[in-house]
Symmetry: C2
Subunit: 288 residues, 2 copies
């Protein structure tokens, strides 16, 4: 029997869409994991009722989380993914030939198990010999890690519950420590249209700037995420994401993409005036 | 008593938001006009239940409809607005000092009357001596018009009902005829994320290309419109919207804007790969 799911974007607004079938509903130690069938978006993954991924537009989010950073780095061999249990990020990292080793650290093993069943085209990437998956807390993993990485991608849920620490200064400090001297960190950074998130976005930017010499925010149109417009923040020790030579690398790599291209790489960093203002607003206190 | 309004974006998906007060509900000869108070977006104008304008994000739509075209034209003196009864477009046209005459042709006088009461900061622009407002059918007006314009801006509702003709070839032909030899037409062009609109977007592009030498699509993040990402199409007889000298003009004009800026002017024309593909897909038949 069909019903309309409500995905709250704030206390006062929501995306709602028809669900024609509930395919899975299971409680993990961390959250309720559901997969539903929808006419608008195909299969949809919900965590605690929040929309995480849809078959229709997952490409926009995953391509825009992964490719700008992977092309900004000159030779991204060792990549760490924090979160990303659905493996959409992993799949895009593996498109890059330079990738020699990817470690994906996901808190909730059941997210990956469920995704394997319903989004097999994403999770097939886990069979790649370059991939290691560790099911543990990403914050603790990074804190105790003694390896070094070229790239860290933070593919987290919203900053409530377990993911909250992934937006804090201490986590960024640990990331900085395990990044090589030319390493890059990139994290999903929520929607600038939602007032409740404005301060977080600004504070993340400030905290990253207190550690990294190059910090830039960029945006992408993602249909099913809050307000349809999403930010990412890239923090780099050496490489600048707007270097002119990146365009040639993107064209030569000729990746199969539906959102990202050699021109979007640069245009995504050009943000509306209100977003520039929001990001650069100085908060009185960092998030510790 | 508060309730949640549902704004359908297609048969299967909708934006929904809390309404704390119904401020106005009136039936015009053309449509039901409502103004509601919302915690998420401030006052919201609804036409036949469809969200048209919110206090919070109207700037994104209106700035991005008006400014790219007004800055692309070298001396936009005579401007025609089709639709735009809420006067948000008019307000932005009048920010341009070159504007000597603006004719706004709105079908429904009651939309402007209601907007005057609830969005006075937009409708105050009607007092400007450069402005003429004609309440009639924009399609007929353009067909019978003997004046010439530098710029035509089509600020229409969705392509159902009275606005449908504003997306058709015959209307574009009439616009071409009343544009000066260096004139520019720009129209709102719906969301590329909604499959039901994909063919329309592509056909509009094709039809414009059959008339104008320069046709370009660009996008903007508009929170409350379908899927949060909106397209516009600009069709120009002479001036190219990506000319390098436009940047200097934008900086010199120093308009008070919240979305548009000298860099967004160019970046907005860089679209995701799937949108480029959608726009350039050749439809078998033009919309006649």
């Amino acid at each position: 029997m069909s019903y309309w799911h409500i995905d709250y974007h704030s206390k006062y607004q929501a995306l709602t869409f028809e669900v024609t079938e509930s395919l899975e509903s299971i409680q993990s130690p961390y959250q309720k994991i559901e997969v539903v069938e929808t006419p608008a978006y195909g299969k949809v993954l919900l965590l605690d009722g929040d929309l995480m991924l849809t078959e229709k537009d997952e490409f926009a989010y995953h391509e825009m989380l992964v490719h700008p950073t992977m092309f900004t780095h000159d030779h991204p061999k060792k990549v760490l993914i924090i979160g990303g249990g659905d493996c959409g990020t992993l799949t895009r990292v593996l498109q890059h030939k330079s990738t020699e080793k990817v470690v994906m650290v996901e808190l909730d093993e059941l997210v990956t198990k469920v995704s394997k069943k319903y989004f097999p085209h994403l999770v097939s990437s886990t069979q790649d010999p370059r991939v290691s998956i560790i099911f543990t807390d990403g914050i603790k993993y990074v804190h105790n890690c003694t390896d070094k990485y070229d790239v860290i991608l933070v593919d987290s849920t919203d900053p409530v519950g377990p993911a909250e620490g992934l937006f804090r200064l201490n986590f960024f400090k640990d990331c900085f420590k395990i990044l090589d001297e030319d390493g890059i960190l990139c994290l999903q950074s929520e929607s600038p249209w939602i007032p409740e998130l404005a301060e977080l976005i600004s504070q993340v930017n400030q905290n990253l700037k207190s550690l990294f010499p190059i910090v830039k925010a960029y945006g992408a149109a993602i249909q099913t995420y809050q307000a349809g417009f999403w930010l990412f923040q890239i923090a780099s020790k050496k490489y600048h994401p707007l270097s002119a030579e990146i365009e040639r690398k993107i064209i030569e790599a000729n990746l199969n993409t539906k959102y990202y291209n050699s021109k979007i790489h640069y245009a995504a960093f050009i943000l509306p005036t209100f977003v520039n203002k929001l990001i650069n607003e100085t908060s009185k206190n960092n998030i510790e």
